[in-house]
Structures are given as structure tokens and as C-alpha cells.
Amino acid sequence: MSGILILEQTLNGLQFGLMLFLLAAGLTLVFGIMDMINLAHGSLYMVGAYLMATFVQATGSFVLALALAVAGTAVIGMLLEVSLFRRLYQRDHLTQVLATFAVILIANELVRLVFGSQPVLLNTPAALSGPVDLLPGLAYSSYRLLIIAVGLAVALLLYLLVAKTRTGMLVRAGASNREMATAMGVNIRTLFTFVFGVGAGLCAIAGAMLGPILAVQVGMGESILILAFVVIVIGGIGSIRGALVGALLVGIVDTIGRAFLPALFREFLPPAYASNLGPAVASILIYVLMAAVLFWKPQGLFPARG
């Protein structure tokens, strides 16, 4: 187990964690401000990836397609908010689960109707298809480096938006105490449509950037949605900072665990056990992490509400 290998897997974990953060940031704000469980958040991620694939084919430009996909998904998200989700804020969590589960079914089938059941091909841009030498002996995929750069840039922008602008101040006010913010004259309705659009746009960035690495297919949103929920629960619901820490933690723990645990188990256990146990423990590692965090800090690492 060389240092190079560990470094490479840490970079992979960072890349995955940053994309998780993009998903979790929107989710945690929706959850934190409106107290709304949105299972359909993963569907916006899927829609973003499909739009990306479509626009890349239509325009031939990765950057232009990314911008179009993000804008398109943001518009779809805001339409969904205005038409449906608004009716759900005052309802209990169970109703929200049922309604957004229905949205998942509808979104999956609509995508299947339009694009078919087969995974859609989305290639990495030609300029970034090769590896670059980061260190002597460490050749790393340049596209994954781009993902890390985009993730860091978006995280920084989001931090500036939330921490330094007036809109961001209103968002924070809404997340820490919705009634009080409303009483102080904040138009929560409009604010929330905006937040929802931003969240959808972030989903689209994640979907578009991960598309070439993972498969663009129906159902891609569901598996990653659960991870995003794990992230926001670990981080503390409603907290952007918590989402970032939680996402990096989950991304790195998951990636490192999958990469090294099976080998580690082979060192200490008979091979028959190790081949079963290694992957199993690696898969459940993040859930153990979440259960442990909830056990000691039931409100998550960075509780948004005081």
C-alpha cells in the first residue's frame, strides 16, 4: 500500500465528495428552510445529466452544454416548486415523502419515454481525456481534476452567496427560524423558489460532471440521493458548512474504504471470509459513520438551529 495509491484514492474521494456536496447543498436548504423532505432531488440530478448529454450532442461544446443543462434544470426545478412543492410545505413529512416519491416515478418514466431505457453515452471532452502527471509516479485523470476544480469553485461561490450577500442572509435567516424571518418581512415564498432553482442547478452540475464517469441512466438519481441524505444528516440539516464537511467525509471514507478495506481484511482473515466481508464492510461504512454521528451528536455535526 504505497503513499501514491493512498493519495490517488484520497483525490478520488475528494472528487466524489465535492459532487455529493453539490447535491447535498440544495437538499439541506430545502430541508432546512421549508422543513420539506424532497426525495425527487435525485431526479433533478438525473434530468441534469440527460440534458447535458443532449446538449453536448446538439452543440458539440462541453462548456456551452453545461451552461444550458444547468439553466434548463434550474427552470424545471422552479416550475416544479411553483406548481407542486408549494402545496406540500404545510403538510407532514409523510405526505411529502409520498408526493415526491410519485414525482420520482413520473420523472423516471418520462425520461425513459424520451430517451429510452438504454444508458445514454456522455463522453469526457477530448482535451481532458488523458491523464496528467501530478507527482512523479502519480498520473491522475485530468477530467477528475476538472471535477475537483469545478466542485471547489462552486463551493466557494456558494459560500460567498450565502455568507456575503443580502439574499444569502435571508436564506440563513430562513434556515435558522422561518417564522421569525417571515415576521421580519422576508418574502419566504419567492426566496424559496429561488433557493429551489439554485438547488436544481447544483444538481445539474453534479449530474453533468459525473455523467461521463458514471452511467447516465434512469434510476441514477435514487442511489446517490440516499448518499446525499446521509451527508446532510451527518452535517446537520440546514447547514451548508455541515453539508460540505459531511460530503467530504462521506466521499473520502466511502472511496478509501472501498479501495483498501478488502485488501486489509485479506491480511488478517482467511480468504473465504475476507472476500465476503471486505466489500460488505466497505459498503456499510458510511451508514455506520452516520449512525455513530447521530448517536453522539443527534443534531448532526453543525446544527443550523440553535
Binding site: F31, D35, I37, L39, L84, R87, R91, D92, H93, L94, T95, V97, L98, A99, F101, A102, V103, I104, L105, I106, N108, E109, L110, R112, L113, E222, I226, F229, V230, V233, I237, S275, N276, L277, P279, A280, S283, I284, Y287, V288, M290, A291, L294, F295, P298, Q299
Partner: protein
């Protein structure tokens, strides 16, 4: 005789007569489907106990379905085919899992409870995926159905149907007795105001845990039946989508209504079956119907028909 009791008797009579009618109509295929629906009705009813009456929003109930099913599957793979051993084992294992999961999860509340139950179900999902000796991701085929003796052969779909029906009726009767007993009253009171119940002197945590374990055990029985019905178990039984489906059955049917789980299971699975015959895109209309149900019938289908027992909507997260 009250209206609810009349409807109950009519429903039970219809279920007893249904296979005969299907046989006359030469639609015997539907006997198997009806068995499957009734098994899900048992599972949904068990979830309704903690969700509707207890206000515990568990997003990981499929874990107990899977635990029961895999107990039967693994025992059968090891050569134990008797239902008298396998089914109590399935119930016991599911109850044991529920005890451990509940003991930890019930320390949290609200959204965190939803997420931690989900996390445990996901852990079990991945454990079964990695059980290569018992099929791993592909699942495990059962050689035969469990044997019950007394000259009954569960491989006969009709016999199996009536056994499942008996299990469903027993579950409903047990649940009826439970929620009207002192225990049920305490559980509902804890849902309404846990702090007060604690102040009055009830050990609320223990009551909730017992309720959680009962629900897990009953769901384990449903899992054992499901493994027999399909002759197949796979990790998909523990998927979070499965937990979500069970929740949807309960919400659709009517939270905190005795028949909520039954109505929901029948409505959802029959709808799926009917639509999938017409179009491969059946999830689209199912989604639209679900959405309409949420917006137009907030108390579920049972809430449209029955006025009685308007158990308050489950505690808000």
C-alpha cells in the same frame, strides 16, 4: 352490527370466495397475485402499527421483510424445509433485528429517526448483497415451499392462498386487539404527547421499543411468506424503494386505520398489475394517481370511506 364490522365480514367473505370465482373464470393466475398482495398487506399493516398508531416514521421497514425472507431462504438452502422451524425462526430473527435497530434508532426523533432507520436497512441490504454463499446480488432460489404437514401442500397455490389469508386475518385481529388494549392506548398517547406520558410515569422508550419489535416480527412473517410465494429471495427485498413502497401503501390506504395497510397494498399492487398489462411505462400513471391521492385524499383511501377512528395523522416527523 356496525358498518365497519359489516364491511369487514363482507371483505373476508369476498377473499374466501375469490379463488373459487377466479377458478370458474379460468383466471387461476390471479390466485398467486392475490397471495402476493395479501402478503404485502400483512407487511404494510405491521408498518401501520408503528407509523400510524405509534407515530414512528420508519423508513427501513423492508429490512424486516428481508430478514424474514432470507431466514427461510438460507434455512432451505441448508436443508431445513419445515415451516414449523423456518417460520418461527424468521419471525424471531426479524424481531431480534428490530430490537437492535429500534434500541438505537428510538434514541433519535423526527427526521433523524427516519434517516437512521433507513441507514440500518441500507446496511442490511449491503450485507445480503455481499453474502456470496447465498446468491449475493443475484438472489437465492428456493428449491421448494416450506412443508407444514397435516396433509397440506403449500406448493398448491390454492392451499397457499388460504394459508396467507388466514395469516392476514390473524394479523388484523391481533392488531385490532392490540390497539384497543391498554398497550395500544399508551402507544397512541405517546404519539400525541410523549413528554406528558413520561411525566405521568410511563416508560415511553420501552413501550415504543416493544411496539417496534412487534411490527418487525410481523413483517418477518410476511417476509417468510413472500419467500415461499416467489420461491426466491434477493437483496431487492431490502431496497429502500421497497421500504418506500410499504410506506406508500400505508399512507395511500390510510395512516392509523386498521385496514389502511390492506387497502393500500391492494390499491397499489392491483394498480401496478393492471397498468403493466397495458403499457411498459406503467410507473407514469401510478405516479400520477399517487400524486392525485396525496393532493385530494390527505387521509388516505380509508379516510374517504370510513368516518370512524380518525386517528390523527402520524406525528409530524
Amino acid at each position: 352490527m356496525s358498518a365497519v364490522r359489516k364491511l369487514t365480514l363482507a371483505g373476508a367473505a369476498a377473499l374466501v370466495a375469490a379463488p373459487l370465482l377466479l377458478h370458474v373464470l379460468e383466471q387461476d393466475f390471479y390466485v398467486g397475485l392475490a397471495s402476493r398482495i395479501m402478503i404485502y398487506a400483512i407487511a404494510a399493516t405491521s408498518l401501520n402499527l408503528i407509523l400510524g398508531y405509534g407515530g414512528m416514521v420508519s423508513f427501513g421497514h423492508a429490512a424486516f421483510l428481508g430478514a424474514g425472507a432470507y431466514t427461510v431462504g438460507i434455512l432451505m438452502a441448508e436443508g431445513v424445509t419445515s415451516a414449523w422451524i423456518a417460520w418461527p425462526a424468521a419471525v424471531g430473527i426479524a424481531a431480534l433485528f428490530a430490537l437492535v435497530i429500534g434500541a438505537i434508532s428510538l434514541r433519535t426523533r423526527g427526521v433523524y429517526f427516519i434517516m437512521i432507520t433507513l441507514a440500518f436497512a441500507q446496511m442490511m441490504y449491503y450485507i445480503f448483497v455481499s453474502l456470496k454463499a447465498y446468491g449475493g446480488e443475484d438472489g437465492l432460489n428456493l428449491a421448494t415451499r416450506s412443508g407444514v404437514g397435516f396433509g397440506l401442500d403449500l406448493k398448491d397455490d390454492l392451499t397457499f392462498y388460504y394459508l396467507v389469508l388466514a395469516a392476514l386475518l390473524a394479523t388484523l385481529y391481533g392488531m385490532h386487539r392490540l390497539v384497543h388494549a391498554r398497550f395500544g392506548r399508551v402507544i397512541e398517547a405517546i404519539r400525541e404527547n410523549e413528554t406528558r406520558m413520561e411525566a405521568v410515569g410511563f416508560p415511553t422508550y420501552r413501550y415504543k421499543l416493544v411496539c417496534f419489535v412487534i411490527a418487525g416480527a410481523v413483517c418477518g412473517l410476511a417476509g417468510a411468506l413472500l419467500a415461499n410465494q416467489a420461491n426466491f429471495v434477493s437483496p431487492r427485498l431490502l431496497d429502500w424503494i421497497q421500504s418506500g413502497s410499504l410506506m406508500i401503501m400505508v399512507i395511500l390506504g390510510g395512516i392509523g386505520y386498521l385496514y389502511g395497510g390492506v387497502i393500500g397494498a391492494f390499491a397499489l399492487l392491483a394498480l401496478e398489475e393492471a397498468l403493466s398489462a397495458y403499457t411498459i411505462y406503467w410507473q407514469l400513471p401510478v405516479g400520477i394517481v399517487l400524486l392525485a391521492a396525496v393532493l385530494l385524499a390527505p387521509r388516505g383511501l380509508a379516510g374517504i370511506f370510513g368516518r370512524s377512528v380518525p386517528a390523527r395523522e402520524a406525528a409530524n416527523g
